[in-house]
Symmetry: C2
Subunit: 435 residues, 2 copies
Amino acid sequence: MTQIERARAGEATAEIEAVARDEQIDPEVVRREVAEGRMVIPANKAHLEKGLKPVGIGVAARTKINANIGKSAVSSDPGCELEKLFTAVRHGADTVMDLSTGEQIDSVRSRIIEAAAVPVGTVPIYQVAEQLDEIADMRPRDFLDVVEQQARQGVDYMTIHAALLREHLPLCERRLTGIVSRGGSLVAKWMAVHGRENPFYTHFDDLCEIMHEHDVTWSIGDGLRPGSIADASDEAQFAELKVMGELGRRARERNCQVMIEGPGHIPMDQIERNVRLQQEWCDGAPFYVLGPIVTDVAPGYDHITSAIGAAMAAWYGAAMLCYVTPKEHLGLPNLEDVRQGVIAYKIAAHAADLARHRVGARDRDDSLSRARFEFDWAEQFRLSLDPEAARRMHDESLPEQDHKKSHYCSMCGPKFCSMKNTEELRAMTRGKAEE
Amino acid sequence: MTQIERARAGEATAEIEAVARDEQIDPEVVRREVAEGRMVIPANKAHLEKGLKPVGIGVAARTKINANIGKSAVSSDPGCELEKLFTAVRHGADTVMDLSTGEQIDSVRSRIIEAAAVPVGTVPIYQVAEQLDEIADMRPRDFLDVVEQQARQGVDYMTIHAALLREHLPLCERRLTGIVSRGGSLVAKWMAVHGRENPFYTHFDDLCEIMHEHDVTWSIGDGLRPGSIADASDEAQFAELKVMGELGRRARERNCQVMIEGPGHIPMDQIERNVRLQQEWCDGAPFYVLGPIVTDVAPGYDHITSAIGAAMAAWYGAAMLCYVTPKEHLGLPNLEDVRQGVIAYKIAAHAADLARHRVGARDRDDSLSRARFEFDWAEQFRLSLDPEAARRMHDESLPEQDHKKSHYCSMCGPKFCSMKNTEELRAMTRGKAEE
């Protein structure tokens, strides 16, 4: 039985209880959200046995962030991917996706699942494509076998581009950047060669059976997400979103958990509309967005262009943010890129939780600001998202241990420190009150 | 005669014409915006003679960004400040503020004005405080003299905290982080010691006379901007904003140009309200915001926390964004911090221009995305906000010159490149159409 199935039967599973504790909300609220499909707990039974810590993804929970790791055919070795996993989780990634391509992907995945206490997602078509010379050679059976194999391995959620239909392909022809989803482009090629419907769509019920058996959560992939501001919110994108909503309903009817993936590249003024439409057409299923990037002009800084969009999307109601690293569009992220991406996304997710008025979200801000006002530098570093970086930057100009008690920093110096001045002002006011 | 005075008399000054060309808008629109106080062109006559290139700041123009430079008593030397100026301008800063404190600030300022083709702003109280042992010793005459001296030097706009009144001080007492504006805290201290009203408020008309004579643009400082999420949008902040509106009207009556400064630390859900209130209470005068930072928890990454807030503020109608560097709250920014801050803010400003549907704003995005789709790597680097960084990141994994023509990068490798797949898909469709 899957989490949604048991929740619908009225059961607050151990995983629901764990999520409720983690989120500081009532288990009954979590149970209801899971039962109604507005929250998922991606928790493959095989991974639970290996020590997975369940995570709730949905609008009633803290905004979650995902870090993509994995090697490509051109870059990285398996050991390095484990380091990326640890770096991502240490800095706050709530889930990771192993997007490895090239050789050895089976063993890389298995090592990541073993090592990860967070849910692990994959895109199974990558493995299928790796095993073939040409994606056109893929038989639906090959794909189902790979999904089954990965499900047995313990993958907690899978991105499958089942909603990209033949009839959508002509809608992409005048796009500036065509199809930018790797999985989407592969399945589009398959359809074009064979002149047949998307096999993941036609075999959707077979897929649901496997997902149901292992309680793998669906992450219905948006193969037609826009890859540039010019293509944002176009007909192709929304035509696919409608089908994603339909498939989400079908999967939930089969007692599967479902997330819906979202864009991509979207200018700021279209983000709210994108979230509202997804929530409406997909019955409130958790929206798992990639950014969105709000301008195309800053390769090398797309962790920032996309943190802007991600923060807004989460404020409007997206449940999980897939990080984008500084290396996006340019190459495979290295360890430092992973760190930069995760921290930018922790910022986006937390800013959204503040804007959503999540209970307790502001506590850390208040504690850090109190430490700042009290010149308790050590505490300020400790509470910050990246203590090491904060301390390093402070110490660049005032490295002595003494300065950890200074009532100023090198930004303003002692005479111009406004907080020091406020302290003196308050002392003055207290003095007058006592006179 | 000042720009606003001449614009009101119906004259399209040379500076108005220059701004209109730069912004690709009708000179008559610029003239009207300047006349009505919704746009300022900070252009001190002395600086114009030294080669200032006029810049229009207002909601009808491109979103502008300012970079704060300047040494503190603890850090930096004058030569380094010129390097910061060049770095900031090369990466796209539209104005700079010299916030130097400590020794030699007069000569640093003079060298910056000589070297800067962009408008230069200052906070004159820093110089006054530098000259005295205690801010309490300041006589209003001292302040007027410094303002006059800096105006003669060619400063284009000045931040003066004239709207922070005695009656506002009790409103700050329960704040988590008190007064965080350096200038604001100094003037508050002065008022507390003397038990008298803010001298910049009581001498406002005298100040207007100097500003008018040299056409120095007012940047009415927000001494009570919140310094933490906890203090955002509080009574103190809005009480001061009301007075800022009043002073703006008085200054415009005296034919002075006026900008209004804004926060600070504001959570995402309060940004729109902050901009709307400023526009309403200050009659549409250009809003010049510092960030805002949308969460307090990320010292070391406040260029990102604040780029989120800045992009949103500009979308809602702020005219100029004062950058925040990664070093904010921790120390004086160095050259690399300046670069990171400027680029984060170019992203925020451009994203807002896209969201505001500014004519032509999307051209660069479209060109870059076209180059990306065509695997024209050199053109993609050239069009990016930081070509050097984009090229360096690409070359980390594929350094050979050959790879500048590759139809893939190390992120996905050749087999999984969605854009390459789309190319093949389109070739296939064209093939079928020709059959």
